[in-house]
């Protein structure tokens, strides 16, 4: 296995060739904030929170889809990056309707905890207050589009882990939204297996168990990565 050596935040780091900067940084104990990344599924590079500066490259790079290279010099914590990450969070908050106080995922939400971690103490942009629906047609689960940040974790989880590909993204720009099958009410979807993996994958309270009330929706996201690892390593093969 080829190994590359690079520098992340002045720390020499070695990684397997082909690893992403995000994976190399995590292995070295360097935290880069993410929202759309989920262990066990492919990368989407949708949220742009993992942007890093790579010396010699003019543009900021998304660490999750940037391959490590020999001699690469990466910075994950600069004033510019911190400012951009806060700005991204502010834009996510203005684009949807995120009301933590009455959300099922209050206290268990990655968007909320990142906002706290990255010091997003106010929002500088006008809120769009979009009118978005809630789909509670499924017997066990529900999707509240107001809380969706379009990270597409559910889409990738359903496709790559469950193999059902119930979820997809429809529309463009701020009108983009998650659809079940070809835009059916979730409860009428013929492909959904009701496995609930998408609910676990969701970083916010957009996907939740029916009947959950404020702060009741805890999620066990690590299970999905464990599941993929166990399958790959044939842990459950008899």
């Amino acid at each position: 296995m080829a190994v590359v050596t690079l520098t992340i935040d002045d720390k020499p780091v070695s990684a397997r060739a082909g690893d992403s900067v995000l994976a190399a940084a995590r292995e070295a104990g360097i935290r880069i904030p993410t929202l759309c990344h989920l262990d066990g599924v492919s990368e989407a590079a949708a949220c742009r929170l993992c942007l890093v500066q790579v010396e010699g490259r003019g543009r900021l790079q998304a660490a999750c889809v940037t391959e490590t290279a020999e001699g690469m010099i990466v910075r994950t914590q600069t004033d510019t990056l911190r400012e951009y990450r806060r700005m991204i969070l502010e834009l996510l908050f203005t684009e949807g309707n995120h009301v933590c106080a009455v959300c099922v995922a209050n206290g268990n939400c990655e968007l909320q905890s990142l906002a706290a971690e990255l010091g997003m103490d106010h929002v500088r942009y006008p809120y769009l207050n979009p009118a978005r629906p809630v789909d509670v047609t499924h017997k066990q689960y529900a999707i509240d589009h107001n809380r969706c940040i379009l990270c597409t974790r559910c889409v990738r989880t359903c496709d790559e882990i469950e193999g059902a590909h119930t979820w997809d993204v429809a529309g463009r720009g701020t009108l983009s939204h998650i659809v079940a099958d070809m835009g059916q009410p979730w409860g009428e979807s013929v492909t959904c297996t009701s496995c609930g993996k998408c609910v676990q994958a969701c970083p916010t309270g957009a996907l939740f168990r029916q009947g959950s009330t404020v702060a009741e929706m805890t999620k066990d996201r690590e299970k999905l990565g464990d599941l993929v690892t166990a399958r790959r390593d044939k842990k459950w093969t008899v």
């Binding site: 106080a101 809630v134 509670v136 529900a142 409860g187 009947g211 009330t213 404020v214 009741e216």
Partner: protein, 474 residues
Amino acid sequence: MKRIIIDPVTRIEGHAKISLFVGDDGRIADARFHVVEFRGFERFCVGRPFGEMPSLTARVCGICPVSHLLCSAKTGDAILGVRPPAAAVKLRRAMNLGQILQSHALSFFHLSSPDLLLGFDSGPAKRNVFGVIQSHPDLARAGIRLRQFGQDVIERLGGRKIHPAWAVPGGVREAASEETCRELLDRLPEARATVQTALGFIKKYLDAHTEEVEVFGNHPSLYMALVRPADHGWEHHDGVLRITDHTGKVVADDIDPADYRTHIAEEVERDSYLKSPYYRPLGYPGGAYRVGPLARLNVCTTIGTPLADAELVEFRQRAGGVANSAFLYHLARAIEMLACTEWLERHLTDPEIRSPRHRAEAGVNNLEAVGCSEAPRGTLFHHYTVDEHGLLTSVNLIIATGQNNLPMNRTITQIAQHYIRDTSAIPEGFLNRVEHGIRCYDPCLSCSTHAHGQMPLHVQLIGADGGVIAEVKR
């Protein structure tokens, strides 16, 4: 016609102003209480899953979030079509008692006692809870601790003092632990002693201030409250509605709260965001009725606990039967605080509130439901309709304070006419009396915990030609 505006009205929960209209003879002709804030809960909750409503509507207020939490959870019970387990009902009752206790303590010690302890004419800079702390430190400390006790009942049961997300459609999320019950029971005697001190003070004050009892909202009206179905006793969580008149005659009885629209209609006025409900058979505005502590004590047969029942007998003797003066709200609140300590003791010593069976689960079984409970300030209704999946299609909230709207207008008119004889020069203390008429009802204008004790009071006297004749600022 001239108009005097008191804006903002201070030491109440919310934003409001009062207009006093001066007739051509120079006397006060009419008075209006305007609620100038707009909340919009009935509109923006539409489209949300009904299970979110207890927490959503709890955010209406930081003083009485529990009232909305419980009333909404009850409405949710009806949508599910379930009867919550007995433990859940007792736990909800215990929390409501804690809520009534802390809210009444706030009303008396923090908001109204400055007028009663320091005097209506004392300087406005001192006439607030800090002035009371200076002049009556022991009473102020006891009052603050009493409110804290009520808050702690809420926190120990629901996990937090304000906006606990604990009551849910079908029951409650968690039962009480043995430790919670024991610790709260240990603190009950101190709370009860404070209530008794306050009660003694109010009674002495009433003995010496008969003019206030005569003038502060002493007028006939109907009274409405929940009562226990079996004996028509004092009730705060379940039960049936009873309406009586100013002589004590029962006008309507054993009303199922779900049937409220047969008896109550709502009028919207142009100059206030507060709706004005009235008793439908008598029309608007003749069907004005009062709710809250005064109404609850007027309509019930007994309270059902020994200390509070003894006080109820004395209360009725003092009022000469039915209490028609809004000033007696203060005494009614104190008696209810005593009742809360007694009923709390019963619930906290009941082993059933520690039962693990406290939440019933079901799907959407009714598409329309009404929930009703007694908030500290009076009867509260939540009325929802949902689609087949449980998304709200309409929401109607009838808030206690709204139901007191028409009587509050009448009360401030009466006070203004009595005290303000010469509209060319109005001493500040007179305007404070008008404000206190509102405080008697302890209105909660749903704006959380803003304390307006130090806010400026701005009064303008405007002549018939629109010019300002006199202006007072503080």
